[in-house]
Symmetry: C2
Subunit: 288 residues, 2 copies
């Protein structure tokens, strides 16, 4: 049996009791390590679970899925995912491959950013399409996601923006060096991990707003649009801040992971009242 | 401290390790018992948690929140919610009241139907506004939610339909008898709980489609629209079925709780492949 087990969002103890029991009895336990992070590292999880974890990065899951699934028809294998196995990233590929090999699977769900964002008080059923904001480079500055925000706002919906994560990325420079290095030493060189902050996301959004104005378009979002910044949702030191998009470009919410919500209009009074608990600058450090 | 603790969707062991530790040390533990259910009852939870649970129905939470919050500034009180505390139903009221009383609160997140529906293979970020389908009566047959489905489909989005739950409802007849009973015996009479099935939801939707055609409108959904029925998501005996809306009106997925997804067009090939695992009639009992 292949078990896909959600770890939740905070630390080692956010796994469910059911999930923990399964982890402790599986023959092999993989930790998916490229789409999200907990506030604790692999070693802390290993100590709490009492099991060695095998790190599975994107390459391994995509290219060596058969290794992960090896003998899963006759023994139990666990694949651990921060959040929920079907949260921001689905693991459909692994499930489809397991099914083709005649391997049964089971999902142990947990909180993901997709539902835990409700803690800011905005009603989950009023969220439209979720978007991803990626790190811009000098030559690649995509704005296309902005149309989705526009559509959501036209329909009175909130937009959850998932912010970019770069783990085990090879820069062009390091790619070249890495290839040389690979030839001589047998391994690759990677960039240190990067996590987009709310400030960076807001700055990119503000630039798009400016670009749209320069093109004579009326942007669906302005400097004054009400936004919610969330950091380390589900962790003890979680922070939430409500303010304008302009304020989001400077608010300090500490370390990763960050998420940003662009609110829709026509909010329910209860949503407004909840958001006011987290207003900048009065109360930006309130946790929920 | 007031703790709002999500219980997840299946049984007693779907609580997180962190949640369980908090439940076991709180002075009073309330179980919110009107927006969702687990596959096990209060007694099973009490035995597993090793704590007595105080059932909190809608009336109590709305009218007697101060009792729930009593002494929560100097001791720990837990409020348990099936799914996530900010899932389908938010508990903003209780949090706002606590905050006004100077009581701190903390949320222990868990899976809710709002993110666990991802297990059918549809990508969560492509869901539009979530709707609720209520039990029709002879005199009250609302169709207004259908506009939201239409808007979602026009934007290529999936629609999660939460199906009605009636717990501790007083019928008009029982309301009269209940009042008399209340006078004589000091308690009220309630209807047995009712949970809308996928069949009932699909039948109501099909009737709306017919009504729209009779009015000369072109319905955004037809008998042939691809839907996903989900029953007891997160439980061992979870069932998923993919088929047309017409098929949803007769498919048998067993006991509650049920949810229905009306798919949007332009599905990703991976979504289609995942959905095919659950096709009616080939494989309607496949679990994930």
């Amino acid at each position: 049996m292949l078990y896909l087990i959600g770890l939740g969002l905070g630390d080692a103890k956010d796994i469910t009791v059911k999930g923990l029991e399964i982890v402790r009895r599986c023959r092999r336990v993989y930790l998916e390590a490229y789409t999200s992070i907990l506030t604790v590292g692999k070693e802390v999880l290993e100590e709490f679970y009492g099991r060695k974890l095998i790190l599975a990065d994107r390459e391994e899951v995509e290219q060596e899925a058969d290794n992960i699934l090896k003998d899963a028809d006759i023994s139990d294998v666990a694949f651990l995912v921060v959040g929920d196995p079907f949260g921001a990233t689905t693991h459909s590929d692994l499930i489809l491959r397991a099914t083709k090999l005649g391997i049964s699977y089971r999902v142990i769900h947990n909180a993901s950013i997709m539902n835990a964002v409700g803690c800011c008080g905005l009603q989950l059923y009023k969220f439209g399409e979720t978007i991803s904001i990626v790190f811009w480079t000098d030559t690649w500055r995509p704005e296309s996601f902005f149309d989705k925000v526009k559509k959501n706002r036209q329909n009175g919906m909130h937009t959850l923006c998932l912010l970019d994560i770069k783990i085990k990325e090879q820069s062009l420079e390091n790619l070249i060096n890495g290839i040389e290095f690979y030839i001589y030493r047998g391994r690759k060189i990677y960039e240190p991990p990067r996590y987009m902050s709310i400030n960076q996301a807001a700055q990119q959004l503000l630039e798009i707003v400016q670009n749209q104005r320069m093109r004579g378009e009326e942007p669906a979002v302005t400097e004054k649009t009400l936004c919610v910044g969330l950091a380390r949702v589900g962790a003890e030191d979680q922070k939430i801040a409500t303010g304008t998009l302009q304020q989001m470009s400077t608010v300090d919410l500490g370390g990763p992971l960050h998420s940003l919500i662009i609110t829709g209009d026509n909010m329910h009074p209860l949503e407004m009242e909840m958001l006011s608990l987290f207003s900048i600058p009065d109360n930006s450090s309130e946790s929920c």
